[in-house]
Symmetry: C2
């Protein structure tokens, strides 16, 4: 029994130009892992319609769910909602319930609910809204694609709205042994151990700190007892 | 005249599980932008051969160059070199010059140059080596794919080795205006400006700090005088 799979699509020129360092990928990866959902691929694409549409179609067909971040604000470079509609061949327009949410918000704050802000109520036909407790403008779900904001505080709030609705698998557990030896010294016995415990995933992540080479060996799986057994063997081998 | 394009392929379960936060994407994005090369797409895939091979083929066919990070160490989960060989249909084996580099390094440090470490001398036929001044084990170039380490200090050193060999375009310049108004207020005039200056890329990146909404508007392009002109108009509109 394998866990459900997911992919993420990060949309935004600012990540690819190096202006902004993406924070949402690392956050989503951790949340999905806790939920027992395997994040199997991430793509980052620019604000270019054919790139967004192509990636949406490819990821949506291949994985159980797709989470997008970015491009759902009021400005001219926010084109994600239209791209999602195009990817799935559905109509898009301002939707009454989304408009009502935004209208109430701007009325309350005494700000003009102008044409640009009304763009944030453009929702593809058949979508379900995702609650945005931070700044009101909703995300939405079309088929298996969860469309969320790029601003990290809003992205995180939307992930929190969405996660309880997802069917996870067995949570992925992990234990780490830090070994102060070069990877080349431990690689042989480690490979043999990985073969013996082929139901687990054993990864080696090298580091170099103050001139000392070492590796964090991470054992991952869904069966805690098997991980304990592998960790005991690991400690025996390398201590 | 458009700038050369590049893609990045990040290889590693540890990024997708949320254990490690990738640092190489942001670094490479900044370095390529300075060099006048457009980073047009990033993918992150797990340590799964068919995923790595598929992404290598797709990105290598679509973009001018591809930079990979991760999976070239001595342990069983380091499979990048073999995947590159498979992607391009070339043979791979331990290569004499790479082995000699590593042999000298381990002889000097009095460590055993064992079978696991010799794996780091496995280089696809026809590749050019990339110098690794940090930990010796080389990266390599096959066709338009630059294969580099995942450890950030080594990745950065390899990028520094490689960048001078690349033909860049005109460096991408940018200027930013910080506007303390909600994006919805500036979106209309901003869209008109973006249409007028269609030779530039104008992006709006919202933020919320201490309850104040604002946006950083970034104007990017290769012609400094045009950017100056757009910035002057921007300041006029929003100050």
């Amino acid at each position: 029994m394998t866990n459900p799979t997911a992919a993420m699509l990060v949309i935004g020129d600012e990540i690819l130009s190096g202006r902004t360092r993406d924070a949402n990928m690392h956050y989503l990866a951790g949340e999905l892992t806790k939920q027992g959902i395997t994040l199997a691929e991430v793509r980052v694409v620019p604000d270019v319609p054919e790139k967004i549409v192509g990636a949406l179609r490819a990821l949506s067909a291949e994985y159980g769910s797709v989470f997008t971040s970015g491009g759902i604000g009021p400005t001219h470079d926010d084109i994600t909602a239209d791209c999602v509609a195009e990817a799935f061949g559905v109509h898009i327009d301002i939707r009454d319930d989304a408009r009502a949410l935004l209208q109430a918000h701007y009325d309350n704050s005494g700000q003009d609910f102008n044409a640009a802000r009304q763009r944030m109520a453009r929702i593809p036909d058949g979508a379900t809204l995702i609650d945005n407790p931070v700044s009101v403008a909703p995300g939405f779900v079309v088929e298996n694609v969860y469309v969320m904001a790029g601003v990290p505080s809003v992205f995180q709030a939307m992930v929190a709205s969405v996660l309880p609705t997802l069917t996870g698998g067995a949570p992925l557990l992990s234990q780490t042994l830090r070994i102060e030896r070069g990877e080349g010294e431990i690689a042989g016995p480690l490979a043999a151990l990985a073969e013996e415990f082929s139901d687990l995933s054993i990864g080696s992540y090298p580091y170099q700190r103050n001139g000392v080479y070492g590796a964090n060996v991470v054992v991952r799986g869904t069966d805690g007892a098997r991980i304990d057994a592998a960790m005991a063997r690991l400690s025996g081998l390398f201590s």
